[in-house]
């Protein structure tokens, strides 16, 4: 290697990279007429959906839901993913807010409870319409902010208990179970596990043999389950998983241990594979939170407020932070959940709060 070719090659590749960059970027919102809060023209609204990554089915369906809604109002959704990296999420949010769009609508899945506060404060300062989902510290309330329209979550205690109960029934009310926990540092994981404990109290015949964190990951669930199966052997009658990915990992572990069908498994999220497994009878139950709906509804609420069809002041306090309806999926109703249950009418401004199951407590 002489000295000349190397920088040349490198420069060439950089140019190519820059060209590719320019090529695959989408059209930026051009016209930026400043409008008063609540009075944006529909065409000026910029929709942003942010989730952890596109590489898991649940969040992919969320983004798909967002795209579908955006298309229904003639816009496109800007998809942001932060790879489960809290700092990256903040960086993206502050960068997108810094662009100064007046009609920005954000539908955000905060990485953890603690990530919500800076997002809310940033959006509030920039006047962007924000809907957050899942994670929020208890003392941070949308009602205290002007543009943080709503926070949507699901009652994790309830869902954790529902699948716990379903498992208890499946094993005839007595026997040992093992629990696969999610990322310990999230409210979802903690609430769901609290639900399991409540269920255990209700079903005294069921004993918790062991609990380990598998971080919502299918691969980790596989390894942990294998180890726990060896440790507890025949005593394991059921596996409680804090999400479906882990439940599916546990299913694989059971299959590899030759215990397929002999141990009951339940999860939460109702990803397509899990719904299919429930339908087949290999899984006992899951709980549907409907990611497609989540992806659309956040943008819909923000869009309605931004275009003035909904006034923040008019939204009932109970709808500023609420538990959305969730559905226990069992073999009996699994077939109904194999297709998304959302329709365009769900996202009309009058209907956006139709799935409120109760205020956030």
């Amino acid at each position: 290697m002489r000295i000349t070719p190397r920088p040349a090659v490198a420069l060439l590749s950089l140019t190519l990279a820059a060209a590719a960059l320019a090529g695959c970027s989408e059209e930026a919102a051009g016209d930026k007429t400043a409008t008063d809060a609540g009075g944006c023209k529909p065409a000026d609204v910029k929709l942003v959906g942010q989730v952890r990554n596109e590489s898991n089915p649940y969040e992919a369906s969320w983004l798909a839901g967002g795209d579908a809604f955006a298309k229904s109002v003639g816009l496109t959704q800007e998809r942001l993913t932060y790879g489960g990296d809290s700092t990256k999420q903040q960086e993206q949010i502050s960068q997108i807010l810094a662009k100064g769009d007046k009609c920005l609508v954000l539908n955000v899945l905060p990485n953890g409870d603690s990530d919500t506060a800076p997002i809310v404060k940033g959006a509030d300062k920039a006047g962007a319409y924000l809907v957050t989902q899942w994670n929020k510290p208890a003392d941070l309330k949308p009602a205290d902010y002007k543009t943080w329209v709503s926070h949507i979550t699901y009652n994790g205690v309830e869902s954790g208990q529902q699948i716990g109960d379903a498992l208890a029934t499946a094993i005839g009310g007595s026997g040992g179970i093992i629990a696969l926990q999610g990322v310990l540092d999230t409210a979802a994981a903690k609430d769901r596990f609290a639900g399991l404990q409540a269920s255990l109290k209700k079903n005294p015949g069921v004993t918790l043999l062991d609990q380990q964190a598998a971080n919502f990951s299918r691969a980790e669930a596989l390894t942990v389950t294998k180890t726990l199966l060896t440790k507890h052997g025949d005593k394991v009658k059921a596996i409680w998983a804090a999400n479906d990915d882990m439940a599916l990992g546990a299913l694989e572990a059971l299959q590899q241990a030759g215990l397929s069908g002999k141990v009951a498994v339940a999860g939460i999220d109702a990803v397509p594979d899990a719904v299919k497994a429930v339908n087949d009878g290999t899984m006992t139950a899951t709980v549907s939170s409907d990611g497609t709906w989540q992806g659309g509804i956040g943008l819909a609420i923000g869009f309605c407020v931004a275009t003035g069809k909904l006034k923040v002041a008019d939204i009932a306090a109970a709808n500023r932070a609420f538990f959305a309806k969730q559905f226990l999926v069992t073999k009996a109703n699994a077939a109904d959940f194999s297709q998304p249950k959302t329709t365009a009418s769900d996202f009309e401004c009058g209907n956006v709060f139709n799935r409120v199951a109760g205020p956030l407590t």
């Binding site: 190397r6 060896t230 594979d273």
Partner: protein, 298 residues
Amino acid sequence: MFAALSPQFRSLGNAQNIMDAAAVLAVVTCGITFVLMMGSIDLSSAGVMGASALTVSLLVANNRNDNDLGLLGIAVAVLLGCAFGCLSGLALVLLKVPSFMATLGVSAIGLGVATLMFAGVQPNITDAMLKGWAIDRFLGLSYLTWIAVACILVGWLIQRYTRLGRYAYAIGGAEEVLALSGVKVKPYKVAVFALAGAFYGLGGVMVTSQLGAGLVQAGNGYDFSAITAAVVGGTLLTGGRGGVLHSAVGVLLVMVLTNGLVQVGVSPYWQGGVEGLIVVAAVAAAVIPQRRRNQVVK
């Protein structure tokens, strides 16, 4: 020690479990060992495994498309890994980018390619043979474990009986001497990375077999785990020492440790910490006998 603390740890079932759990790590470590022997480092396994996992799951019988290539699909996935390895190697020898960064970049590229193929819907494999690898057993161990054993054997043969393996070793010992002896080092470097990439590709296929689905995150954490296992086994990061068999021992040590911690019931919070401590202790114990006053430690 774990055997004393937990009766289950001693059971035959647990020994099988450890061997089965070690299979993927063993294959990945096998690949990385060749790179470490050269004195380079390879952080690309996470991305390469993700890409090969997605590739194989889309090429064998699956729920996303009508492909049913079977073994051919597996071969393609392994070749893809090989190609990614090539890419790392080429960036190293042509652009002169240190392997640390070259492989980090390739890892990101691999994850990107995997995400592209994922396209929002998880591909589940229905291919009976590939699924069978994780489930069916031969002499008490799953096929995957036997595949890993075969990989270690092949790795050892490559290291001992091929020019590629011996040169990888020699490059770690004294790269400049090879050049002086008229050996063109660059092609061998690229080939070593490609070989390592093929092992990661196979690792991705094995993870897919275990999980029954192609996951972008199939290789999560294998990069540092494999380096840890290789180092615990006695391979030096500076190159020129160690080998596939050392690494296999390292893999077993690490897996016994991880498994033992769960069996003994150590809090999940502490498990990572205890592992870290033991890695440092293992290397310290290995280093102390050969301490010299003016030795260079980087």
